[in-house]
């Protein structure tokens, strides 16, 4: 039984123009509560999303194309912590507009019902499941989540661009592209330097030409990439550890191995 609770502390975003992102409990908060209280420790992902919103509003106080963040629970234990979750959210002053208390059986449905355009999780299986049902998903890098950073770093791996979400429907491909277009537009609002968003492209296999294709495809969706790395078969690990992306857009999710 899914319950959706609106967070009255936060101004609700414009339904048409906001980019709806769902973040799992584990991606927002740390695993343990702070010292026996019912308040959870905060992870780094959400503040970064919020910073993007803040900067967008700085540029244009009437801006509607903001991140609309929903917190979603993905198992029954989490579902039962609903009051602690709401409490912690208030405590940290987080800009979460809605809570979706679902379980492992019905979270994907909730995602779809809420028109979620991107689903953030730290769990590979959850991401896969959501992807298969047509919701674009991204893995939050657990390591990066704990690193302080000024910029939200998004990593595009070539597969997501050339063949997004293999095995999913036309509609979900469309929604993935839509999301990328939104991201691109948000990025455009900032200049080359001092941007709260940073896009990186990494192509692991194939040479310069597949990288070139990826750059062009992204550009056709309106996404201008800041950094590009063409690995040509070299191991991904060392480069990824230098890049410290916060979330990776790709299909497969086998990439956080090193």
């Amino acid at each position: 039984m899914v319950s959706t609770v609106t967070n009255s502390d936060v101004k609700q975003k414009d339904v048409d123009q906001a980019v709806v992102v769902a973040v799992t409990f584990a991606a927002v908060f740390g695993p343990e509560a702070e010292d026996g209280s019912t308040v959870y420790r905060l992870g780094a992902a959400l503040p970064l999303l919020q910073r993007v919103n803040e900067r967008l509003l700085e540029k244009n106080s009437a801006e509607h194309q903001l991140f609309d963040v929903i917190l979603i629970t993905t198992d029954s234990w989490q579902q039962q912590q609903s009051s602690s979750i709401i409490n912690s959210t208030r405590h940290h002053g987080l800009e979460i507009s809605r809570f979706c208390f679902s379980t492992e059986d019905n979270y994907v449905e909730s995602l779809m019902q809420n028109n979620v355009q991107l689903f953030f999780t730290t769990d590979g299986n959850e991401a896969l499941q959501a992807t298969h049902q047509g919701v674009p998903s991204a893995m939050l890098d657990k390591n990066s989540v704990s690193c302080p950073s000024e910029q939200l770093r998004v990593l595009f791996c070539e597969n997501a661009i050339i063949q997004p979400n293999m095995g999913s429907t036309e509609a979900s491909k469309k929604s993935a592209q839509n999301f990328l277009a939104h991201l691109g537009q948000m990025r455009q609002k900032f200049g080359v330097s001092d941007s709260p968003l940073c896009f990186t492209l990494v192509t692991s296999h194939g040479g310069k030409d597949s990288c070139c294709c990826a750059l062009k495809s992204l550009r056709s969706l309106g996404v201008s990439v800041d950094e590009a790395y063409c690995l040509g078969g070299a191991p991904r690990g060392p480069i990824l550890s230098l890049l410290r992306p916060h979330f990776l857009l790709s299909d497969g999710f086998s990439l956080l191995e090193g």
Partner: protein
């Protein structure tokens, strides 16, 4: 796509002979080809299939060697290609305008820069290595490492395709320091136009040098890679250099005589000479010593009869072979380098780098050791920020750095008669072949 089409497109190629064993290199001269007619070029972004090269392509190990097995040479976009126009745009109008300009001119390839002949020569060596050792990963791996933004990426890739370069790996760091990536790529040599980055790389133990665009680039061999090194503060440490700078030439000779049997400490480019030697041995193992496509040179102001002995003993103790050693006893290096025609020459003193560049040699400055104290005192421009540190013309260093030099050979002759002529000293097994 036929070979004829390639000929028309590049405009640089006089005759294109593609033998089955070549790595797609064109036989034509590279010098002075800065002008190109954009209307004549019909560039697509599709890969240009070059017969002969791609024919041997195989997915996996041979095509993309593992970074730790290959000899990785990282070059920046500003030394591989000529980007002066774009640099002006950046300096005068800022980064946004610069990126816009780049995107607008995306289909115009850049002209070759000072490191271009060097990179082409590396590919020739690769072709020969592949012939002899088709399964081996011990090849040169060229990586483009630039702190350009990825917006310039498409233009760079177009240019690489246009010039038929075999560069399949690159890092565009969008303004952040490339040093970490150099380490991740197990870089053996880093060439950049930015002295700051080069210094950072040297501090991390990576062989690095700054390259400058000479006014003219003399034609170099297309079948043999020639790399020339200075001795002190390049292959060796700057310990002797220090003595010379602080106590003068006499003390230097004394010190070297006393310490003849004590090995010199290693310098920043010793490692690169080592890997070149390893690749050379692969050719020797297959009976190709006389026809080896790699040749190394030591070009030093030391003199053969005295101070040079220590250098040779050190090299021998390190197990490094160098094909030719030229002891100039203070004579200018330019003319000698002009005869050798190396694809690249490494020196720690700007004076020598300039002298070489004047005569058309692609010279690279290694900002290491005590000589830098004297170089930097003469620096003309100031107020360079991180982003705008495009290098100034090497000629600005000229007038002031002339004060720091070895005594001209003429002056030495009265006190040291044996040093009137530069001493050329060839190691056994090598033939003295200037062309």
């Amino acid at each position: 796509m036929s070979l004829d089409a390639v000929q028309v497109m590049s405009g640089q190629v006089k005759e294109l002979k593609v033998s089955p064993s070549s790595n797609g290199d064109a036989r034509g001269s590279w010098e002075g080809k800065e002008e190109f007619d954009p209307n004549q070029l019909e560039l697509t972004t599709k890969p240009k299939p070059v017969t002969g090269r791609r024919a041997r392509k195989v997915e996996g190990a041979v095509f993309f060697p593992k970074p730790e097995n290959a000899v990785t040479v990282a070059v920046s976009s500003r030394v591989l290609f000529r980007t002066e126009r774009e640099q002006k745009v950046f300096e005068q109008k800022g980064v946004e305008e610069y990126l816009r300009y780049q995107i607008e001119h995306e289909n115009e390839p850049f002209a070759p820069g000072p490191a271009f002949p060097f990179v082409k020569a590396l590919e020739v060596v690769n072709a020969r290595l592949r012939e002899l050792y088709p399964e081996s990963e011990e090849l040169f791996d060229i990586v483009l490492v630039t702190y350009n933004h990825a917006h310039v990426g498409i233009r760079l890739i177009n240019t690489i395709n246009h010039h038929n370069l075999f560069i399949e790996r690159f890092c565009m760091t969008g303004g952040s320091s490339p040093i970490g990536y150099l380490k991740a790529w197990h870089t053996n040599l880093y060439l950049s136009a930015d002295a700051e980055k080069v210094r950072e790389a040297l501090a991390e133990g990576i062989a690095a040098a700054t390259m400058f665009m000479p006014e003219k680039l003399t034609e170099v061999s297309e079948s043999q890679l020639r790399v020339a090194f200075d001795g002190d503060a390049v292959l060796f440490s700057d310990e002797s250099e220090c003595i010379f700078k602080t106590h003068g030439l006499d003390k230097f000779f004394e010190h070297e005589k006393e310490n003849e049997d004590r090995l010199l400490d290693h310098g920043p480019l010793k490692g690169f000479l080592e890997v070149l030697g390893k690749l050379q041995k692969k050719f020797y193992a297959k009976g190709q010593r006389l026809d080896c496509p790699i040749r190394t040179y030591l070009v030093t102001a030391r003199s053969a009869a005295s101070s040079g002995i220590r250098a040779l003993k050190t090299l021998r103790a390190w197990g490094l072979e160098i094909d030719e050693a030229l002891f100039l006893a203070g004579a200018p290096k330019g003319p000698m380098l002009e005869k050798i025609r190396p694809h690249i020459y490494f020196d720690d003193q700007m004076f020598h780098v300039e002298g070489a560049a004047e005569m058309g040699t692609a010279a690279a400055h290694v900002p290491y050791g005590i000589a830098q104290k004297y170089n930097s005192q003469q620096k003309m421009s100031s107020g360079k920020t991180e982003n705008s540190s495009f290098m100034t013309s090497p000629l600005t260093y000229r007038s002031s750095s002339r004060q720091i030099r070895y005594r001209p050979a003429g002056k030495l002759c009265s006190a040291y008669p044996e040093f009137t002529e530069p001493h050329m000293f060839s190691l056994p097994g090598a033939s003295i072949n200037r062309q």
